[in-house]
Amino acid sequence: MSWRKQVEEIERKRARAQQLGGEDAVKRQHDKGRLTVRERIDALLDQGSFQEIGAGAGAAERDPSGALTGFTPANFVLGFGKIDGRPCIVGGEDFTSKGGSPNEAGLRKSIYTEELACQYRVPLVRLHEGGGGSVAGTGSRTVGNPVFTPPRFRSVARALATVPVASAALGPVAGMPAARLVASHFTVMTRETAQVMVAGPAVVERALNRTHRKEELGGAEMHTRNGVVDNLAEDEADALDQIRRFLSYLPQNIWEPAPVLPADDDPDRREEKLLSLVPESRRQGYDMRALIDLVVDRGTFFEMTAGYGRGQITGLARLNGQPVGVFANDCMVYAGAMTAAGSQKVRRFVSMCETFHLPVVALVDEPGFMIGLEAERAGTIRYGVEAALAVADCTVPWASVIVRKSFGVAALAHYGPGAFVLAWPSAEIGAVPAEGGVAVAFGREIAAADDPEARRVALEAAMASQQSSVPRAESFSVHELIDPRETRPALCRWVERVQPLLRALTRGERERPPV
């Protein structure tokens, strides 16, 4: 007696699983300029590190003697792997089989993805391409899930609360896969080959009598501007690179510290350019991204969600090797004012930093909430206050560097509890910027003056000088007024000082600094 026959069957099924939807379907996938899910997984992971889970799951066909005559593999590929030597879970729909719409075994594996990431406490990467459930069903004879099944998004929510989740849209993604795509800390989509939508053209046409192409309903141009997807990728290789880069800053889970790399950049580096980066004229802007690059470890700034809420800049970086969240204002976009979109971007970003205990460095140039009819119509104050409240609830260490403006309620979203506050000589701090404040408080006086314009200019200048960082520092209203060139050394020392707090947070001690 030998188990040879059974072993041969195992091997046949495994070999069949490697072929996905079959030679023709794989060719069609390649002709559309897209990789198969197995090729994607290989390209994402460290070479040879993929350990598949459920390779033999699928629907078998047998003749009356019980011999295997056919096998349709689960159309969701799942397993463990490593990225830069660190374990993770990776899963994705197989578009070459039923367009990624789950078959019975595929659905089981798909649902298991988040469970596995939570159980093993490792980051989760999902590579999405598919349309979710179909009215044709999975081929099962039973209808619906057992009534005692936990809610589908329970494990999705649990994963988001405990491990880093990064997802890519690499083809048409609709329905449940689209929902899982955005249920991530970082999402990326390819420029030409991906579309993301709640429902595709046929469903939309049936319900709304409107004809749209899928590119129009869910293209990257739109979704990188409305906050659905964080980053744009030129192609699949770029998308996978961005996911690897994102994960390189994050801990494996909320109980472990973020990976501190040996620093190859001098923590005491003082950049001369910082001394003249901010123009003296308050009407003139500067390049905040250039400022960030000069301060953080060289080449480490990874911007996220750049096309959405553009007045606020969010991204990850390192300071003396320690991963940090960077939150700054782009004064070239509506002076960096906090819009409804910018507020939502900030709230989501800060809550990710809080979840993974990443210290936040805020580079502040905040003139206040965006004002005007459109801003009011967008409900700016509602979203803005939600951002400010999320920041007020933070337990992660914050350092805030006031580069220029720090005004109004919106400024509150730039200082976490116990923030270490530094100010540049160019900083202006107050309830409202000088110009608007003068217009409100001295409107009548200006109108009655012999030379209203001269009076206005004089009042604005007087008000602006009161908002200078110099008296604020003398009053210990900020920790220190600094030479802009000292920013990096000061922040690198701060990162060293907060290490005990970071360790306490990973142990689950969430004591807030005294108010």
């Binding site: 009407r283 003139q284 004064c331 976009v333 509506y334 002076a335 910027p433």
Partner: protein, 76 residues
């Protein structure tokens, strides 16, 4: 030869126009300065060539994405 359209990066008013039709401009050159939220926003040509048309006047209110000028791209 194609015309490159220079668009407003933000809504605001046209504060200064720094180029005229037939001017030869470099890609990085500022051709119009907008004023938005009390800040000057320089708008660059975005492509090297000859300005074929300035579509706005000083003081004019412009929307985000509005066409401000056209540049006939040189070379190519």
């Amino acid at each position: 030869m194609t015309d490159h359209v220079v668009r407003a990066p933000v809504a605001g008013s046209v504060w200064k126009i720094e180029a005229a039709s037939d001017d030869v401009v470099a890609s990085e050159q500022t051709i119009i300065i907008l004023e938005s939220m009390k800040m000057e926003i320089p708008v660059r040509a975005g492509a090297g060539g000859t300005v074929s048309e300035i579509l706005v006047g000083e003081g004019e209110i412009v929307e985000e994405g509005q066409s401000l000028a056209r540049v006939k791209v040189s070379g190519g």
